[in-house]
Symmetry: C3
Subunit: 139 residues, 3 copies
């Protein structure tokens, strides 16, 4: 889908906030219905998911401790009538080893976020047979 | 090189497509000669490369199974007269461990892609002595 | 903070340059005071950091050899009166394993960089009690 550029936001999420909720609330508060999200920082006790196709649901992994947020990449679209952020993260431990997957939650120690609003036709996640909520695919 | 912004595209690649071919074909179909590419999703049986400087070629690694596409980052420019996507990926397994490198190929389970077209002087990859095809370097 | 779009730059850093210095010098030379930075490529002997909250400083890890630069993500703002790039990286070794954290330094073999200048109110890093230099948090 072709989109045009809307507003841009660069900001730091306050320490202690839950990162995914904060981004979703930010999108709702600013009426961002389509967008891209990128961030770096440091997260505590992040939970990440790996989608189990056979079970049609995510396996959730709880990482204990503090991790460098090496990359946070995702998008905003509509799910259940509201702005919804779908985000993947790479997380580094104190030895520099990386872990990652689908972002489920994480406590912010530092999060420097760039959100680019996009404007276009409504982009909506719809439940699929495989258990995921996805946009219509590009033809 | 200074560039200006062209069109923006946010879309999902259909399940079953080979991701790198799809992005290259998308660029050709839409006449995108310069651009940036970002994506998240899930890939099956991805192949990644590590450039061996001494052999002047990539070592190819075949990952078996399904991986969270934690980050896909790259660019589009001209190679051999056609739009060409150069892309690196980070991939997460079912334990949250990450693997990655130069994207060689991967079967799409889910791929949510953002492409930003850029406009400017022709940006072309030219064969180098080291075995890579690169742009002229910034002075 | 809401920002607007400034200039865009897509370029290759010459082989042999130290990547973080080059990006900082690029920002200074072009008077980029706010921005986002993304890159892929290959780095030699990169040094990465993990922030130790209890010591209020980074633990530095020196990686030996050549690594695929799988993702470089960061931002530019003002620190000590000058443009300053804060960057995190994911790095892949010859087996496809990933390492990463806060970018301290790295010798460029290849670095293909996209910098988006942003325009807005001055965005400045200020020393915090926790040992980091951070922007004011979003309210």
């Amino acid at each position: 889908m072709k989109v045009s550029k809307g507003r841009s936001f660069l900001f730091r999420i306050p320490e202690g906030e839950e990162i995914l909720s904060f981004i979703n609330e930010f999108a709702k508060r600013h009426n961002i219905f389509i967008g891209t999200v990128y961030a770096i920082g440091t997260l505590k006790n992040p939970k990440i998911g790996y989608f189990k196709e056979d079970r049609r649901q995510y396996k959730i992994m709880e990482l204990k401790g503090t991790y460098e947020l090496v990359s946070l990449m995702g998008n905003i679209s509509i799910k259940d009538g509201e702005p919804f952020a779908h985000i993947h993260v790479a997380l580094g431990d104190s030895d520099g080893s990386l872990y990652g997957g689908h972002l489920v939650e994480g406590e912010v120690f530092v999060a420097e976020v760039f959100i680019q609003e996009l404007l276009g036709e409504p982009l909506e996640r719809k439940p699929q047979k495989n258990g995921l909520a996805l946009w219509d695919a590009e033809e």
